[in-house]
């Protein structure tokens, strides 16, 4: 497939200011977006792809997507190559459009180097002076938010709305520990019980220490090739058959819903592209920064109805060889590792092991031919990026 003739540049806008002491960098990004949309005759809600580089405050596109309230974005790219980024983004946007990943891509650039006396990038406060970092920083970073207490708010709200219990959440850790006992590299190899989880120290209500993932060094890598090269290599072939992505954030604070994650949108996109459904999955790698992370994502991906996650994960249903949906058979982030606090790549790695039949024999899923790897980055309690990947053994 080529991009030739598959995409058109239909909106363009250059900000008129050359000295902008009275506007923030996020504001200039948004004004440029507004100008380009008006030039094209489109509206904000038409945008389903967002591209930005290092000048966009925040991590990736998350802060700017939330600032602008881009509710329909289903494709994101924050490739950073300095000043050339935006030219490269047009090429990437054309690829995404050609492949049906988005239809209307927005690319923005903004900054205020002439105002450097106010402090450049970065969200840090400079008492008595103005800063120009992520737009939410001043209104959020002051309250002591961490992953622990922002995910804990999700758990608290889920319990309030659906009656989910700490015992049900604990079953997720129990399942992970059953798998980790066979992983010689896992940080936590002891099998734990529901009582062990509930008796571990409360970190941030209602999450206990054993509801939390480990902190680990380490890393991972993946090689993705063309079909021709894949066939030339003497390794089992793991075919990528579906992928979906989505941001989620408060977007102005209306309809805040901490019981849902971006998987609600990224999941169906991936399953539709793959032509399979959740019940077809033989194995699931689900991001497990906390037990509640797993529960919410299983619901949002469609493995069970919303609010039924507690019942779904209970009684060992996630344990390989015991339950219906073997998950995180390496022990996951809850027991194995969470390199540099980013667990996405290990989720793909264990799914590849399962599809190759190379997982530990004690946790290998028989005839594992379809698997999902899913994760969220950032915080479910504020703003995050969700990614779903469906893979098939060939």
């Amino acid at each position: 497939m080529s991009i030739k003739g598959k995409a058109y540049i239909m909106g363009a806008y250059e900000h008129p200011l050359r000295d902008a002491p009275d506007k923030s960098t996020p504001q200039i990004h948004a004004e440029c977006a507004k100008g380009a949309l008006e030039d094209a005759g489109l509206t904000k809600d038409d945008i389903d792809g967002y591209f930005c580089a290092g000048d966009a405050p925040g991590f990736g596109g998350m802060s700017m997507i939330d600032y602008m309230g881009l509710r329909n974005v289903r494709h994101m790219d924050s490739t950073e190559t300095g000043g050339s980024s935006y030219i490269l983004h047009v090429g990437h946007a054309a690829q995404a459009i050609a492949e049906g990943k988005c239809k209307v891509a927005l690319i923005t650039l903004a900054g205020r180097p002439r105002q450097n006396q106010f402090g450049g990038f970065g969200g840090g406060a400079r008492p008595g002076k103005l800063t120009d970092g992520p737009p939410e920083a001043g209104f959020e970073n002051i309250y002591g938010g961490t992953t622990h207490n922002t995910y804990a708010m999700c758990a608290a709200r889920h319990m309030y709305e659906y009656g989910t219990t700490s015992e049900q959440l604990a079953w997720i850790k129990v399942a992970a520990s059953h798998h980790a006992q066979w992983n010689e590299h896992a940080m936590l190899r002891d099998v734990v019980t529901v009582e062990d989880v509930l008796n571990s120290p409360m970190i941030s209500d209602p999450l206990h220490r054993l509801d939390c993932c480990v902190v680990s060094d380490g890393g991972g890598a993946l090689i993705v090739t063309s079909p021709e090269i894949a066939r030339s290599l003497n390794r089992p072939m793991v075919k990528v058959i579906g992928a979906g992505e989505s941001p989620k954030g408060p977007m102005g604070g209306h309809d805040l819903d901490l019981t849902h994650s971006g998987a609600l949108w990224s999941g169906p996109i991936a399953f539709e592209e793959a032509g399979v459904k959740p019940s077809d999955m033989k194995y699931a790698s689900i991001y497990d920064s906390f037990t509640i992370t797993v529960l919410m994502q299983l619901e949002d991906l469609g493995f069970c109805a919303k609010g039924e996650g507690g019942k779904f994960v209970a009684d060992g249903n996630l344990i390989s060889g015991v339950g219906k949906l073997p998950f995180n058979t390496d022990g996951g982030g809850l027991c194995n590792n969470h390199p540099t606090n980013r667990g996405g790549i290990t989720k793909v790695i264990e799914a590849v092991r399962q599809l190759r039949g190379e997982a530990h024999p004690k946790v290998q899923v028989p005839n594992c031919d379809l698997a999902i790897a899913h994760g969220t980055g950032g915080s479910l309690g504020t703003r995050h990026g969700s990614a779903t990947l469906i893979m098939e053994r060939e």
């Binding site: 002491p21 506007k23 923030s24 996020p26 504001q27 948004a30 004004e31 507004k34 949309l37 509206t43 904000k44 939330d66 600032y67 602008m68 309230g69 105002q115 969200g123 840090g124 406060a125 400079r126 008492p127 008595g128 103005l130 800063t131 120009d132 970092g133 737009p135 939410e136 920083a137 001043g138 209104f139 959020e140 970073n141 002051i142 309250y143 002591g144 938010g145 622990h148 207490n149 922002t150 804990a152 708010m153 999700c154 608290a156 709200r157 309030y160 120290p201 409360m202 970190i203 941030s204 209500d205 999450l207 408060p250 977007m251 102005g252 604070g253 209306h254 805040l256 901490l258 504020t382």
Partner: protein, 138 residues
């Protein structure tokens, strides 16, 4: 360090100075005067949080500051037990005007906080910065 529920106590955690931008400066100037401002859009009529120059709902640039009584209900909260300065409560308040606000709950029994509870804004001093909005039960 306690592994169990804590006795009622006020938040001992000091709040750092907020990052103030040219866009958010009017909010913090008003906060210094004890006034809680939100942004409302003249295009769609809706209030939003955190305040922006361009409406995150309809993308109009006709947004205006509005003084709010700062009252609402707790949407969700969590008491952080593992903190060098003692427990503190973080949470979201759904303002009566509609939007949800991330905040701390202070001057109250942290263990008695509940989803749906009515709360009202107050301002807490920060270290070398403007005071920041926090909430207490009504």
């Amino acid at each position: 360090m306690s592994d169990t529920k804590t006795a009622p106590e006020a938040q001992a955690r000091k709040i750092p100075a907020p990052a103030v931008t040219i866009e958010s400066k009017p909010f913090w100037d008003a906060a210094a005067e004890g006034r809680f401002l939100i942004k409302r859009c003249n295009g769609c009529g809706k209030a939003h949080w955190y305040p922006r120059a361009i409406c995150p709902i309809c993308f109009s640039d006709d947004t205006v500051w509005e003084e709010s009584p700062g009252e609402g209900v707790i949407y969700a909260h969590s008491v952080m037990r593992r903190s060098p300065t003692g427990p503190f409560a973080i949470g979201y308040v759904t303002l009566d005007e509609g939007p949800a606000v991330l905040t701390n709950f202070v001057d109250c029994d942290l263990d008695a906080l509940a989803i749906g509870q009515r709360v009202k804004v107050k301002f807490q001093e920060t270290e070398n910065g403007p005071p920041v909005p926090v909430f207490s039960p009504v």
